[in-house]
């Protein structure tokens, strides 16, 4: 991410959020996630998307919304445990991406809000591990 413009950083995060939205939407359609948990996580990811789009001022330069599910997502929909593992990896990627963006973005006013979304994604990881019956801490 280093050397990228603030706009490019935000667009990358938007692409990641769109993947998360697509994943939870698919999981809910296929009953691959507990409905209450899936709806809660999906609602929060949609809030992140809306916030990023608003910050970008509409009209992101690239269309980040994936229209075809990735093979990995499709494979994960066979069971709730498989989807939880897949989603946890995706959330982990988001935590890493937000942590890096919050560190290097030039507009200092965006650092704390990006950190607050990072914190939310970290909590999602814990929720997904808990859904798999794992109580070990995510670090």
């Amino acid at each position: 991410m280093a050397g990228r413009s603030d706009r490019e950083l935000l667009e990358d995060l938007l692409a990641l959020e769109s993947r998360l939205v697509s994943a939870y939407e698919a999981a809910l359609r296929r009953d691959a996630v507990d409905r209450s948990l899936g709806e809660a996580l999906l609602a929060q990811e949609r809030e992140h998307v809306a916030a990023l789009e608003k910050t970008l001022g509409g009209g992101a330069d690239r269309n980040p919304r994936a229209t075809v599910p990735s093979p990995e997502l499709t494979g994960s929909l066979r069971s709730r445990a498989a989807f939880a593992s897949f989603a946890e990896r995706l959330e982990a990627s988001a935590v890493t991406a937000y942590a890096e963006a919050a560190s290097i973005i030039r507009d200092a006013r965006l650092r704390q809000p990006l950190g607050s979304i990072m914190a939310c994604e970290a909590a999602h990881r814990v929720a997904l591990r808990d859904a798999r019956g794992e109580r070990s801490l995510v670090v």
């Binding site: 916030a51 909590a123 814990v126 929720a127 109580r135």
Partner: protein, 182 residues
């Protein structure tokens, strides 16, 4: 009508007092000579907060059992490791890490924890304040490398907060934006 203070609010207020005391001069200042604008003073405050958190979890462990105790122990070990990491950061910035207080000194500033629920409320408040401190540091630390350290530790604190919230029977994530929206 006279204001009502719930037990949770009272516990949270006590935690706030603890943390403010830890960061506002209760501990010895960092020794040595920090480079101006290095962020050493802020890292020193975060280290004081970490040490208070380690002592706070030790107090929580006295009233927790089973899964709750196991999670609290795991968090305390990670908080202790983070304190060690911050001490290394301070040393790298040319500052001797402050010595911190004894466990007994910290314990005197804690609320009385009578039950597991008290301990979990205390831990919840503690984690929220720690997380907020690290996210605020993102706007204050001057170097990208220092901010990366704060962000990484902030993510760990967010995971701790989520784990505590699950033990309280709450959703892991309290909302889409933990300490402020875009």
């Amino acid at each position: 009508m006279a204001p009502q203070v719930t037990r949770r609010e009272a516990l949270g207020g006590a935690a706030a007092a603890l943390l403010l005391a830890s960061c506002a001069g209760g501990d010895a200042p960092p020794g040595g000579g920090p480079r101006p604008g290095s962020g050493a003073a802020l890292f020193g405050s975060l280290l004081a907060l970490q040490r208070a958190a380690v002592a706070a979890y030790a107090a929580c462990e006295e009233v927790l059992r089973g899964d709750e105790l196991a999670v609290a122990r795991a968090i305390r070990e990670q908080e202790d490791a983070i304190a060690g990491r911050l001490a290394v950061v301070l040393t790298g910035l040319g500052v001797d890490p402050p010595p911190g207080r004894s466990r007994e000194e910290y314990a005197r500033t804690f609320p009385r924890l009578r039950s597991a629920a008290d301990a979990l409320h205390f831990a919840d408040d503690l984690e929220q304040r720690q997380l907020r401190a690290y996210l605020e540091a993102l706007t204050e630390l001057p170097a990208p490398g220092s901010r990366a350290t704060a962000a990484d530790i902030g993510a760990t604190q967010a995971a701790h907060l989520a784990a505590v919230r699950l033990l309280e029977g709450l959703p892991a994530a309290q909302g889409p934006f933990v300490t402020g929206a875009l």
